[in-house]
């Protein structure tokens, strides 16, 4: 009998199906790897097992008995410990308090037993004593730690549950080699004790180093489980890609003429900054250059840096033959950059303000307007909104009254009034429905055809493959590979993205 079994577990958030069908069996004393591209439902599956997400359907069985958790506390009592991908630490509490937070030892019924806290925490921290690095101590606040040290604290916190079932959702994404080796040593020991471990990572070498079996997920479904010994790198990637991988690169994007001739609009050389280093590429007139790879490998960071939204960059950026260094977005916009982010709340929408005001800020900035003349602005705004088939009640209604997709159209429209030379798209279709996506990319290709230089980062591989003329695959803040022409296949994209960092 399996220690843990999932049968047809489902979860949807509104129209997004996060987990279509989760089936898996976890045995005693095994490390079971889950692998799948971004958004394939791995974390959702783990959170359902850990009780922090309630499934819409399906069954979770522990030791053959069906369980239903009312919350994470319930799951913890049932013997499940979890490392959350986004971490679950209290930033202002100390390392020791965080490690013991789930079940703080008390004396006299109410008082925190500090000696016991320190002792327990020490036991788990000592496991990593060699690799924790400077600044790490039990009474340091989590806030003061580096990203890798925080991840170690979350690992210690998970280990401290002493649960028979341990789930690690991307525990190694910020760790260095030595830290990973140390952690794997611990996992092997736990395995020998008979614990059951779910392990998620995007690093292929780690999966082969620690896994016993591997379950591949794709589009919210668990596809197949294999013994690690019976499979290899290519087979796993082929599973992740699925049938779609066999498709030839789409015809529409075969705009090869542009990538060949055209005049260079944007030339970036030796560009470094927080999260990326030594990036170099060119974009010619009318070309769409795609940024690919796993989430957070520096793609967004490069785009934001080009737009002047993050400080501390070095290297050369040449736009239309002029060397430039945008220190802030205001300057970048005047130079001819446009930036559209998928994170509307943070980067785009002026919340609570009318649509008209949301379409025209760039027009104001570029033309240094001092007065708002509604009739003039309306004449500017209407064609831009029209071009995107935006649905709205009236220009005076608040942007919040629109659906996510239509909000995004309003934000894009603001760049269409005065055309930029370079359009930076940072995962622009987050939370947008299929129809709108199609419209949007039709428009983007149209803009390219009119001579705009476009850089597109998308977390959806299909978007890149269908629209980009060239794809630069990012890995750990650097460009790992360039895919052009008929190389632009899903298989190659995954292969480059999952190559050992």
């Amino acid at each position: 009998m399996s220690k843990l079994q999932l049968r047809g577990v489902r979860k949807a958030y509104g129209a997004t199906v996060a987990l279509r069908r989760g089936d898996m069996k976890l045995d005693r004393g095994e490390v079971h790897v889950l692998i799948g591209s971004n958004g394939s439902g791995k974390s959702t599956l783990c959170k359902i097992v850990a009780g922090s997400v309630r499934p819409d359907g399906g069954e979770v069985l522990i030791d053959g008995r069906s369980v239903e958790f009312s919350g994470p506390n319930d799951a913890r009592k049932a013997g499940i410990g979890i490392f959350y991908q986004e971490l679950s630490l209290a930033a202002h509490r100390t390392v020791a308090e965080n490690i013991c937070l789930a079940a703080l030892p008390v004396s006299g019924g109410v008082f925190v037993d500090r000696a016991k806290v320190a002792e327990t925490a020490r036991r788990y921290a000592d496991l990593f004593a060699e690799v924790a690095g400077t600044g790490f101590s039990l009474d340091a606040t989590v806030e003061s730690l580096r990203a890798d040290q925080r991840q170690l604290v979350e690992i210690m916190k998970t280990l401290a549950t002493e649960a028979p079932i341990l789930i690690f959702d991307e525990p190694t994404s910020a760790l260095d080699r030595a830290q990973v080796d140390c952690f794997f040593g611990i996992l092997r020991r736990l395995k020998e004790e008979g614990r059951s471990i779910i392990f998620i990572s995007h690093r292929m070498d780690e999966i082969f180093a620690i896994g016993d079996r591997v379950t591949v997920m794709r589009d919210g479904e668990t596809i197949e489980t294999d013994r690690i010994a019976d499979t290899d790198h290519d087979a796993i990637i082929r599973r992740m890609v699925g049938e779609k991988g066999e498709l030839a690169p789409p015809a529409e994007a075969a705009n090869d003429a542009a990538s060949g001739g055209g005049q260079v609009i944007l030339k970036v050389e030796g560009f470094s900054g927080p999260g990326f280093s030594n990036i170099g590429f060119e974009v010619t007139e009318g070309e769409i250059v795609g940024f690919g790879g796993l989430h957070g490998q520096g793609q967004s960071a490069v785009l934001r840096a080009l737009f002047g939204a993050t400080p501390g960059n070095s290297g050369s950026v040449v736009l239309d033959g002029r060397s430039m260094s945008a220190a802030r977005p205001r300057a970048a916009i005047r130079e001819g950059f446009a930036y559209i982010s998928g994170d509307r709340g943070r980067d785009g929408a002026i919340a609570g303000r009318p649509i008209l005001e949301n379409v025209t800020p760039i027009h104001f900035l570029k033309n240094r307007l001092a007065l708002a003349r509604p009739s003039h602005l309306r004449n500017k705004a209407l064609p831009a909104l029209e071009a995107l088939k935006t649905k709205y009640a009236g220009l005076a209604s608040s942007i919040n009254s629109l659906s996510g997709g239509n909000q995004q159209k309003v934000i894009i429209a603001r760049w269409l009034i005065d055309r930029p030379a370079v359009l930076l798209l940072d995962d622009p279709t987050k939370g947008i429905d299929l129809q709108t996506k199609t419209d949007l990319f039709a428009l983007i290709r149209e803009l390219a055809a009119e001579g705009m230089a476009i850089v597109l980062y998308s977390s959806e591989d299909a978007e890149l493959l269908n629209n980009a003329d060239r794809i630069l695959v990012f890995n750990s803040g650097a460009i790992a590979r360039e895919l052009t022409g008929s190389d632009r296949t899903r298989y190659n994209l995954y292969h480059a993205a999952y190559e050992a960092a």
């Binding site: 850990a50 922090s52 919350g71 994470p72 506390n73 799951a75 913890r76 979890i82 959350y84 971490l87 679950s88 630490l89 209290a90 930033a91 202002h92 509490r93 308090e97 937070l101 789930a102 703080l104 008390v106 109410v110 008082f111 925190v112 606040t141 003061s144 916190k157 927080p274 501390g312």
Partner: protein, 329 residues
């Protein structure tokens, strides 16, 4: 992004850790400066008598600020602490009147008062933590409710407290004023409470509610307990107000609510939750008290007193914020 840039452009690490560990230090400095200024303008203000007066007058605000601190730890807010104080004040006045002014009756009334505060706190907790209404708006609404109740119990200010009550509060025992004993007892209680599991849990919830939930903490119950604790301390504040004013007033706490919030912030506790100390709030309450007495001592004309007091509090807040920011950068 290297470590060197971090160190080069900012405060030394030791100073930073110091402020991290003792977030109330700026408040303590401001407090000492204010005491010195008070002594400068009115030497008598540092006398034993004056300090005793200061404590008996501001003990209520101190306790109210402490009450507020516990909910702010969890990134909540309670705009009804003043109303709870008023309700408990009129409640115990009426009870003591009914029970007669005997010492037994007075003690019984005090116990009942604390229960009233606890009940109000639980109501707030249910509304905010269980029903998930916005803390600011919800506790504003309950404050109107509690004030309404207080006005029903005692429509106009004036009913006196029994002699034994205010004589005790203002009296001297074994050579020390009663309020000193109260202050010491409160200090011990606060010290003990700071070591409870609940406080660590409140702070963790304030840090990141989602993370606390995913860790397996009973977030709703923890926030509810925070409000209950807040209610109890608001009731204790009411006992002090009653001793100080010796009468019932259904609106006595109204103005104190925002003072309590200001005191908490002055004390270095973040309104966003997760960091702070009750020690800081005590200092913050004393700062507010000393500012009003200083404004009086320097001989500000009465029509200017509010303005000067407001400016002084702003200044104190700015000093605290600037020091905190320097320590962080």
């Amino acid at each position: 992004m290297s470590d060197t840039t971090v160190i080069a452009g900012s405060a030394p690490r030791s100073f930073r850790r110091f402020i991290e560990r003792f977030p109330f230090l700026p408040a303590l400095v401001i407090l000492v400066v204010l005491l010195a200024l008070n002594g400068l303008f009115e030497p008598n203000s540092l006398s034993y008598r004056a300090i005793r007066g200061l404590i008996s007058t501001y003990l209520a605000l101190i306790l109210l600020s402490v009450a507020q601190t516990y909910v702010i730890y969890a990134a909540d807010l309670d705009l009804s602490v003043g109303a709870i104080l008023s309700l408990v004040n009129v409640g115990i006045i009426m009870l003591m009147q009914h029970l007669g002014g005997s010492p037994g009756g007075v003690l019984l009334a005090c116990g009942a008062g604390i229960l009233i505060g606890l009940a109000c706190g639980i109501v707030n907790g249910i509304v905010v933590a269980v029903l998930r209404l916005q803390a600011i708006v919800a506790t504003f609404a309950t404050s109107i409710l509690f004030t309404g109740l207080a006005l029903y119990v005692l429509p106009v200010a004036g009913t006196p407290a029994p002699t034994v009550y205010w004589r005790t509060y203002g009296g001297t025992f074994f050579g020390f004023p009663f309020v000193f004993y109260v202050a010491v007892a409160i200090a011990i209680v606060l010290f003990l409470i700071a070591r409870t599991r609940l406080i660590t849990q409140l702070l963790s919830v304030g840090d990141d509610q989602q993370a606390a939930y995913q860790t397996g903490l009973p977030v709703t119950l923890i926030r509810l307990k925070g409000y209950a604790l807040c209610g109890v301390f608001a009731a204790l504040a009411a006992l002090c107000v009653t001793g100080d004013t010796a009468s019932g007033d259904p609106l006595v706490g109204g103005e104190m609510t925002l003072n309590s919030v200001a005191a908490v912030v002055l004390g270095g506790t973040a309104l966003s939750g997760g960091v702070g100390s009750v020690t800081g709030s005590v200092f913050g309450a004393l700062i507010i008290g000393l500012i009003s007495s200083l404004v009086f001592f320097v001989g500000t004309p009465s029509e200017w007193q509010n303005l000067v007091q407001g400016l002084a509090i702003l200044l104190a807040l700015m000093v605290g914020v600037l020091v905190g920011r320097r320590a962080k950068s």
